[in-house]
Symmetry: C2
Subunit: 438 residues, 2 copies
């Protein structure tokens, strides 16, 4: 009898097949049982009748508990009322592995308990759906860049020096010396762009932030394209094109998962290009006006020249269905490598893409300073040591070109699209300040 | 004028276009110059005639040095003799960024010098080709698994405990405690397989091996599929299918790169399925016979029960065009989680896939012990602490199923297919015991 996956059942209607999986839940009476069997690809209802299988097998099936593993052999029926559109009329049922006192029941559990049992929690319907949305987002991102001729350029995790101060860096004993874990592949990605024209990095990055908020993981995945001969408008266009591509792909391929997550899909469908481009000065004006109208609101006060807090990002996006792109931030609180605007030299040619529905900053991008002398000045102004940047300065010594790129935080994007409250559900095994297990 | 990439020139024959890139090399005389311009996607010859452009621009072009950045505007001609099949008859040439005394010249350089200048060495023709082969291999692997319904399951880099002893692990200061960097995502991947049926991990892994050989990087990428309800034969079939898929894809899409690398393509075309499956006992017999016939050969002596050395792998594959799969290794030197063969209890249900042409071990795989009691015994036998494995044991407490998987070393695969001598050319910025820069 042919072993098939639940997701392929539509190709086997009327045939006898074998499903191998785990018992999600069962209900029924003393003559008829309905076993919901999950095999990772989906859930199918298996109908187990005492009359068909005999007393012994029926009682075995009836005694099966949540998350025991089992095989069911039977006939595939198309049934529109069944979840997934198919059901299996069982001819044989076989217990593979027991499951006594499975710790996660349909009742509500606390966060700490679920995280302690992350290796099992992953099997739950919503967690299953989140990771399938994550998978689709990653796949879409890679397809988007691969199909546009970008080269995947895996940048190193071990870096010899702290690019922007050591506060948030993890230090590793590296034989007789120390290494730091990468916070961004960008500088290396720039070397890649000079060799390959268009590259993207996609890998884990690390931040030793002493924060317990929902927004921070110590280990998260980041995707960073870098393109030679690209300007700010082109960079924003790339970010917008990519975001729309991801959204359309998830809406096309993962609607059942979004429904399982009870995501308000209309909000995702409302996202339209072009995403509003807003100059920092204009955004600041909006925020100052808002604060004056809401004098007692926490987090709302704002002074021109500041960076945005979480509340400010919410205020700026609250009337937008789509992400917004804020440009021309003050150089003061931005990274040394960002190119300044000639017409407004205290501003950088960069943008933050802030998602709707309180998604926060999803993307940060900029044009990079491509002038050797200016870059040396910036390194000095930021009190950074020159020696570790000599190789980076070489990119301006030998055939420097205008170039730009951005960084996308993967888990934040998953959180937004899947509509989750917590970043920690958006990666298989989240790592936080107080959480390294399992 | 439309900006185009070199790889797209075939769509613009007869049109006027702009190319933006870097000067690879130029030759010519006082009236006519041939500029080889690379833009990352390819190299195109641009013909610069004094009569067409005038003295000033011609002299500017003639003075251009290796790796300066430039734009060329002109007409695309199809020319079969030209590298890539096209050339551009220049109408305008513009210098973007200078390049004085570019350190890497066509002459031979020492290894250390090239690695010190890795950020520039990446621009060289062969290095460019290696990374494009790498890109294609990764893309092929992901397509292979994605199209078969596998879920990408990113496992954590930070792990709380040393799975197989701490000797080769990198230790990280993790706030008030320590973490270790992952050597494998497998154990976490098993939890993923119980939730999603079929998963694969693909990310960096770390090994603090005190080795200066060509075979070891401290940071390398590993891809590890894990499948519920899979046996050893199915596992080997999966590895073989995947390897053939990768090879066919690189041969289809990256022939120019393989040619640039002077790879003997016929060796890759000679790889055929099925890959020979060889029982360890049979392999040992071959090695013992070989050693007796070559009594003075270094590395050749072999005793039944030992693991293979590099020389042994070469001997075993020297008459095979295809990778070979050696099965049933002695359990003694294999990992605790490998399932034993019922018929030969001192052997594991595992395999190593050893590549031809001295490629070494490319893949190691096994069926995992799925019996709770046996797994507990193995953990004790290996003198491992029980507590850190409690979550892993849960996978055997709650609906345990037979399952199997393997691990593929990405850089070793790139080294084999691209035909390189050194692993360090197979990743953008290699990290080794004495090498963390740039």
């Amino acid at each position: 009898m042919m072993r098939v996956y639940v997701e392929d059942l539509s190709r086997h209607v009327g045939e006898d097949v074998e499903i191998a999986g785990w018992l999600y839940i069962q209900r029924g009476n003393n003559k008829l049982r309905f076993l919901q069997v999950r095999d990772g690809s989906g859930i199918v209802q298996c109908i187990v009748a005492k009359n068909d299988l005999g007393e012994e097998v029926f009682e075995l099936a009836k005694a099966m508990t949540q998350e025991c593993s089992l095989k069911v052999r039977g006939t595939v029926n198309a049934d529109e009322r069944a979840p997934g559109g198919h059901e299996i009329v069982a001819k044989e049922v076989e217990l593979v592995g027991e499951s006594n006192d499975y710790p996660i029941s349909p009742k509500e559990h606390g966060d700490a308990f679920l995280l302690d049992n992350r290796h099992l929690w992953l099997r739950s319907k919503k967690q299953h759906a989140v990771l399938r949305v994550r998978h689709e987002i990653i796949w879409a991102i890679r397809d988007f860049f691969n199909n546009r001729g970008f080269l995947l350029f895996d940048t190193p995790m071990f870096t010899p020096n702290a690019v922007e101060g050591t506060t948030d860096l993890f230090e590793v004993s590296y034989f007789d010396t120390s290494a730091f874990l990468s916070q961004s592949g960008q500088l290396y990605g720039e070397a890649g762009a000079m060799a390959h024209g268009r590259i993207y990095t996609f890998g884990p990055t690390f931040r030793a932030e002493k924060s317990k908020t929902r927004r921070h993981l110590t280990e998260f995945w980041m995707m960073e394209p870098e393109v030679a001969y690209l300007d700010l408008d082109g960079d924003m266009q790339l970010a917008e094109d990519m975001t729309m591509y991801i959204l359309e792909r998830v809406l096309e391929k993962r609607r059942p998962e979004l429904e399982a997550l009870e995501r308000d899909i209309s909000k995702l469908e409302a996202v339209k290009r072009p995403f509003p481009r807003i100059h920092y000065d204009k955004a600041a004006e909006t925020l100052i006006k808002y604060a004056s109208e809401h004098p007692d609101e926490e987090g709302a006060p704002f002074t021109h020249g500041e960076d945005f807090g979480a509340r400010h990002e919410s205020i700026l996006t609250e009337n937008s269905d789509s992400p917004i792109m804020v440009t021309h931030f003050p150089a003061e609180f931005k990274a040394f490598y960002m190119k300044r605007d000639e017409n407004q030299p205290d501003r950088v040619l960069g943008f933050d893409m802030i998602g709707p529905e309180d998604a926060g900053e999803l993307i940060g991008g900029s044009v990079r300073e491509d002038d050797y002398d200016k870059l040396v000045s910036r390194i000095k102004e930021h009190d950074l040591p020159m020696e570790p940047f000599e190789w980076y300065l070489d990119l301006r010594r030998y055939g420097s070109v205008p170039h730009a790129g951005f960084g996308l935080g993967l888990e934040r994007t998953v959180k937004w699209i899947a509509g989750r409250d917590h970043l920690r559900e958006c990666i298989p095994f989240p790592r936080m300040m107080y959480r390294m297990k399992p």
